[in-house]
Amino acid sequence: MLKILKYSFYDLMRSRWSYVYFLFYLLLGFVLLFLNNDVNKAVITLMNIIIVLTPLIGTIFGVMYYYNSKEFTELLLAQPINRKKIFMGQYVGISLSLTLSLVLGLGIPFILYGLFKSTAIFNFTLLLIVGSFLNFIFVALSYNIALSTENKIKGFGYAILMWLFLAVIYDGVFLISLVMFDEYPLDKFSLIATMLNPIDLSRILILLKLDISALLGYTGAVFRKFFGTNFGMLISMSILVLWVIFPIFRMNRKLKRKDF
């Protein structure tokens, strides 16, 4: 697996898109910090971007890489390697290279700006951790979709649809149900609904650390009680981990029966 990982990683690290992605974050980091001069504000803006963009890019990269390297994958499948290892290698390779673009792209401007002296370092680190999780989650999800869909165009469409659903439609349905059932206690519902969507979970995790919890009124109290404690943090992180593990698990199950 490590060999496959290594080559997928090298391959991606040389791709133009990795650089575009890396440079995008680099530029974003510099612009935000040196035009804004406020690390905390920059972290909020970054969150807005990371929450939407990392899942999208993860999804697109995942699907694209799968379909583009399909023939090469077939060549690998004919080699004496366990097929599970081939796909895990590719998956980790993509996720890692995307994560590297994110962490380096944002990390360099922040370190140059003097992040280590700033109090925002914890929030910033959390942002990078959550962003990395989102990379791993959405690459895994898109790999699942690609593995289940032979047709490239369809697979691409489904993947984008999945992103659209989790990033936008889910919240729309969530908001409408909150408004429709506002006579009922909704705090538990909100908590669960947040847990079920990795984008929402990441967003809330960061927002609570940025102290927007106080805005949430009663719901906020429940949320803060949950997320604010180490236990809640642990649970949320575990759920993010589950969001990685579950698609990987399904991927491996799918692989057992998959014909190439």
Binding site: F174, L186, T194
Partner: protein
């Protein structure tokens, strides 16, 4: 010439009459009660350094009580310490500790009842129930005192500077922390509160009710449980105050409830859950205030008429404005909004498109508070944008027609 010599004569008389009584642990007069017993109007009592375990000291003469560094009155957690009922008194340079806690009586470090013309200055109060409690008094000055305690909950804690039914008071340069309410005003008129620092109190930094014609300025209210509450009052002037870090599910920088004819200008509201919460406020001018990184900058609930918001800076608040009514009799003019995305083609410093401070999301949140969990979700950005393009739910006429392109104030 005659007049001067007369004055001189009177001065010498009064000076010679005013005697100083010294109190110390080893002196002949070793208790303050004894000293007061011996004193007459106009006398001074000087308490030398040392710890004096006394409580319920009755001050019923027009005297000055002062101490030096290390003068400590220990109430031994039993009742009040000083109880003043005389005019023209002064209390200076002493430290009072350990005031008794009671659920039925308002024990205080210094209790002042029906007095006029007095000064309480440079007093340090620690581990107290109420700090300075003033009732039905006039022309008092409370200057440069430090009041603190370690209040845990509202039921068994008291207020720092508590003034009731009084007028012409001046509260200046005090620091109050760890109390229930930092400064408490009820039925207090024609008074000034300035240059105070009230922080980390469990309820309000300043609690202000039924008090008309008062001014408060240059104060800082920070990290209080619920912020500052100003209620049921008229003709108030507030300026150059700082309302900082009042975070909590029911916290605000400034709560205005049933307030009329008031000027609020040059204040800074930073990192509060709600910058200003207004309920039933009429004829209030908000000018040149800065709202920085609050949850809501302003939240207006019910019947607020003829308020004018002018030249304020709204910067990086999660939500600028929340309104729970469609009726709008309030005016927004020439404010700077950091969320403003319009343009200024004629370069006159004023944006060419109006700014709508109420977003659809803040409208939804007003109806369903739980919806706040969706803050900063992409979906919310999308509905906000569509509402901005064609308003359906938010008040159509609620807008700043002349938003500034650059911030008005240099307060930060």
């Amino acid at each position: 010439m005659n007049k001067i010599s007369l004055l001189l004569f009177l001065f010498t008389i009064s000076f010679s009459q005013a005697k100083q009584i010294e109190v110390c642990n080893t002196c002949e007069i070793s208790t303050i009660k004894k000293a007061i017993e011996l004193a007459e109007n106009g006398d001074e009592i000087f308490i030398k350094k040392g710890v004096y375990k006394e409580n319920d000291i009755e001050v019923n003469k027009e005297i000055t009580i002062y101490g030096e560094e290390g003068t400590i009155l220990d109430g031994t957690n039993n009742g009040s310490v000083l109880h003043v009922t005389a005019n023209n008194f002064a209390i200076k340079n002493i430290k009072i500790i350990n005031v008794g806690v009671s659920y039925t009586k308002d024990f205080a470090a210094i209790k002042v009842v029906r007095c006029e013309n007095f000064t309480i200055e440079n007093v340090v109060l620690d581990q107290i129930f109420f700090g300075i409690l003033i009732e039905k008094s006039h022309y008092g000055k409370i200057l440069n005192n430090t009041l603190s305690s370690t209040a845990k909950d509202e039921a068994n804690s008291g207020n720092g500077i508590h003034i009731w039914h009084s007028s012409n008071m001046e509260v200046e340069g005090n620091e109050v922390f760890g109390m229930r309410d930092g400064i408490y005003f009820e039925f207090v008129t024609e008074s000034k509160i300035h240059n105070n620092l009230s922080h980390d109190n469990i309820r309000y930094g300043l609690h202000f009710m039924f008090s008309n014609n008062d001014t408060y300025y240059n104060n800082e209210f920070k990290n209080n449980g619920a912020g500052v509450a100003v209620m049921f009052s008229k003709f108030i002037t507030m300026y150059q105050n700082k309302f900082l870090h009042n975070w909590g599910s029911a916290s605000y920088g400034l709560l205005l409830k049933e307030i009329y004819d008031t000027q609020i200008y040059n204040n800074l509201f930073q990192e509060n859950t709600i910058g200003i919460k207004g309920e039933g406020c009429t004829r209030i001018n908000y000018k040149n205030n800065t709202f920085l990184r609050n949850g809501w900058a302003i939240k207006i609930a019910g019947a607020c008429y003829t308020n004018i918001f002018e030249n304020n800076d709204f910067m990086h608040n999660s939500l600028d404005l929340a309104y729970n009514t469609k009726v709008n009799d309030n005016r927004f003019e020439n404010n700077y909004w950091s969320e403003y995305t319009g343009y200024d083609l004629d370069n006159d410093g004023i944006g060419d498109v109006p700014y709508r401070p109420v977003k659809l999301f803040s409208y939804v949140v007003n109806k369903t508070p739980e919806a706040l969990v969706l803050l900063r979700s992409l979906f919310v950005d999308i509905i906000n944008f569509s509402e901005k393009v064609s308003p359906v739910f938010t008040p159509n006429d609620l807008m700043d027609k002349n938003p500034k392109m650059k911030k008005n104030n240099d307060s930060i």
